[in-house]
Symmetry: D2
Subunit: 338 residues, 4 copies
């Protein structure tokens, strides 16, 4: 860690800080320059959080040398992690397609979609039982009943299932019945929920927050690993910017950026990540091309009558077309469908 002192910092301020750095077991460094005095602290700088350097009135800026995360980093674990969701491995050589409706509406409709996406090449069934929303007037999902429908449909079609939990209570129910739990974008920093998810031992799909940096996504994952659960899959699902042509801007650069720095698998959600049906297929292909380990796709039998997410859902035929165009791209980058 590098600590730049203010021009008016007295020599004692530097001496005191150096002493405290040494107390913490790090190697202190004193670099008096012509315009500023700079201090250094070499070693595991995460212990310096307790020194509250930013609060010191003589400190102008603090520049970390190491990434703020450790357990999720490739430096610690160079090889790709593979996270199993039921019998499907996410990460490694295979490219996984997780598909299903934004909101589960009824058993017949979900079964129809499950069969359709399975036969087209999807390996995991997704569907919302508990729904996050921004308006009290939007559909909140079927809840526990939806979860049961999802679990039964998964068994009937032989597909592992994943779904979101919004609270600690819901999480318990989800973990009991699904093969992986989704922590949604709006809950990426909901630490009570993260803690419960970590303690459950379940596989976790952790979605990037709408205004979260990639580093913050990695820090949220770090928390999960730190609490003892390394079955974590990261999901890029679009961020919020000034652009108004779509509800979110899918940040595909996050994929190669994370793959360099972390051993965790990375999925892309081009459906929520763009919010517009016409953009889903091209962005799914782009995700495959830039190194994602899979995609999450909203599929609904008849999107115009969907109770939620209809603007971004593909119907069964559009999903089959997407899969036909996706496979050659997956192969072009040397991978194959999970």
């Amino acid at each position: 860690m590098i600590i730049v002192l203010k021009p008016d910092a007295p020599p004692e301020a530097a001496r005191e800080l150096l002493a405290r750095i040494e107390e913490k077991g790090l190697t202190p460094l004193h670099m008096p320059g012509s315009e500023r005095v700079v201090l250094g602290a070499l070693g595991d700088e995460r212990v310096l959080a307790e020194l509250r350097l930013e609060s010191n009135p003589y400190v102008e800026s603090v520049k970390p040398i190491l990434a703020p995360y450790k357990l999720v980093s490739r430096e610690l674990r160079p090889e790709d992690s593979v996270v199993r969701i039921g019998r499907v491995g996410i990460g490694g050589e295979a490219f996984a397609v997780l598909a299903g409706p934004d909101a589960i509406e009824d058993e017949a409709s979900l079964q129809e979609t499950a069969q359709a996406v399975k036969s087209a090449g999807a390996s995991v069934l997704r569907g919302g039982a508990f729904r996050s929303r921004i308006s009290p007037y939007a559909f909140e999902g079927l809840g526990a009943e939806g979860l049961d429908i999802l679990a039964r449909t998964g068994r009937a079609t032989g597909m592992p299932v994943v779904t979101e939990a919004l609270s600690e209570v819901q999480l318990e129910e989800v973990v009991a019945k699904a093969d992986a739990v989704v922590i949604g974008a709006r809950n990426m920093n909901n630490f009570p929920l993260l803690k419960a998810a970590a303690e459950s031992g379940a596989a976790i799909l952790l979605k990037r927050g709408l205004s979260a940096t990639v580093e913050e996504l990695l820090l949220a994952a770090e928390y999960l690993l730190h609490e003892g659960n390394d079955r974590v899959v990261l999901v890029e699902r679009g961020v919020r910017t000034f652009e108004t042509n779509a509800p979110a801007m899918l940040d595909l650069t996050a994929v190669p950026f994370i793959k360099r720095r972390s051993h965790l698998p990375v999925l892309v959600d081009p459906s929520n990540g763009t919010g517009r049906r016409e953009l889903v297929a091209p962005m799914a292909l782009a995700a495959a091309a830039c190194g994602a380990d899979g995609v999450l796709i909203d599929v609904h039998p008849t999107p115009p009558s969907a109770r939620a997410g209809g603007a971004q859902a593909l119907d069964h035929e559009a999903f089959r077309r997407l899969m036909r165009s996706l496979v050659p791209v997956v192969q072009a980058v040397g991978r194959s469908l999970a």
Copy 2:
């Protein structure tokens, strides 16, 4: 609501939509133009959510005419709402100063700060017991013990107290011991938590999410009122943008924008809203000048040794200076301290 059809929409698509609009009890309108057919639906368009117009393959765009919120709007209730936190009214003519530490550390220190801010003119004591954070390595607060310290200090100094709850379980504890509960920026759309807060009947300080639009803040408040609790105070606390000179960009335009459209009181948090000590006082003055109903200020006896928020906390002397410069501005806009 205005519905623009795609150029290739057949006449039956328009006819079918018009029939469905009429079924919902709204007045349908047909406007065939030279380049597009436009449909209208006049009446309470919130019921049209069920028509899922955005999902219709023949619909190019949907333009609402009315705001998506109703209960929080000035159209429904033209006069300013005043929300009581203990004996202090937030909203109306008075300007309220809520002050205290980001994180409660121990009873002696909190009492010292409480006395200092009270004698300088603050009317409500704030302090964090359960802390939201983005890194597993940051301080998570004293929890229930901190809450007890806060409650005792409030009684001892005769100040109402407010503090944040991060989960439904914490919310119950907070509501039992504090005069108002804070829903933090990261939980603005945590609907299970909002529901519990609404049902508690407690006064709620609802903070704007880091990437929430003002309309989304008003929708989250709408949810609270819709669930039966109108003791809601909105808090502008900075948003996330491309600018890196501070952790957040305080959006003061939100204040007059909301005051025009909603009867709810609006506070400004220039401490979390800028994250930099040097910006707190000027932004507090600006908040008062543009019509805010009060400010939340981080105060700590010795910021360099604060366990959290030290970079933005004012010490007791700096808080007194702030209050001395704030009072003339509050008076210049025709108000007085609560």
Copy 3:
């Protein structure tokens, strides 16, 4: 165009507006609702700009029905435009690779790079003579001398050349010696420069501004076509957001979004669009996968000694590797190299 009146608008305000809409040759519509009066204007609404509806004190909001651009739209010209840069066509079935250094440094080095990129499959040579920059202390380019080097190197290698002009004076020089002129991100709304570029008749690579919406990019292109030059290629080159892991966030969703709405070709610049060497190749592949008509790639013989852009430049070997991985993706989407 839909005009929503304020709740307190008197009937005469509506009558007056309807009369003015009719005067302009549009069909006026009157839709009195329970909460708001809504007016409509059907026809070519672009002429309504003169009515300054947003300024009317009784108007709450104005909602256009048609896109604000026309000449660049697919509705006007459904088939893909192909813009010739020398003998290379941009747009249509072929995928073009434009490669070369951010800043031209000397003739030997540029020739070396030109040979290297040509033999690896690039079809157009790019290189900066006049450089845009944000600090007075950064390299401003070789200027006219660089332009001459570029022109000679293009002739020597048989490659068309493109380079940026920052002012009307530079534009004249560039048009005289290069096969296409680049209008950089910082000049997307520099109308005097756009006007000069349009009048020159040269092929134009128009880059999206750092905080420009896609609609604004299309409007800037509309201006060029409106001034009589339809040899316009759009370039997505990253936008500015809250994310700090790279200097820009490449917005690939812009590619399919534009391809749907406009007949103009779209290139992607993953070098400037990410600013980080490690992200260039994955994003180039993603660009090809989602439908771009080509890519612009920074290439330099020895990036560590580049006078500008070194952090994002590929060396010759890395560029060859990129081309080897790019070709299968280009083929997977049914295209081939230009």
Copy 4:
């Protein structure tokens, strides 16, 4: 400057960099840590730009210690600069109000507005002759004729006048007839235009770009001072964010942030900075409260018939009301009208 090497950097890489740092006349430092080797370079690090450290394949990150600007900084010149526009000083104790129409339309109307704003307390007349715009269908201003009208009206009313130039040619005309030239937000990084403005010796109002950081604004100003013209006034005029309730988000935190770091005066433009009439007055008051040296206000005799900017313009009566509420706030912070 601090240089963090990658984990795989060989010892020679460090040695070579240290040698080059020493060659440049800076003091090199070697700090081998357990996880990374860190190098330091103490002295005027601006000369290190030539080392292109970011491009070095063994360099992980480069962290500057000093601000990238120097001439504009308070460290170099601690006292406030005052820039004279005609007989009016901008900066120092006085608070200046610059008012007038977005676009000059005709002489009678401008004279009427000039008289109105002068008698209400404005000291400088502003008005657009050459207009920046984003659509080819928007009004481009009266050009040279508008400039003549502005100059005559300034003389007739005894007010100094300021107006924008969009190109080098326009700049010459503006400098000849106006008391200060405005460099608009879209031209903040138009270096040919900045160079011409610097060389003219005229007073310059430099507006912050829509997506420019405060540091970039200071760097653009640095360029002007570096070219020999220190008559520079900075203008905060709103930035582009995800928020859609107004065309721009006024960033008032920029004011105290800049005042701390730079000796240059800072104005705020709440008209363009919000784009909504209802927000202009509250934000003007807030600007005064947080330390701005003045404001720029759009004023038009009849905003609903304004050819441009009507949505944000105040009419004469609204401007008088604004001035009446502004004066007490200006006095509350210990200043008086210029």
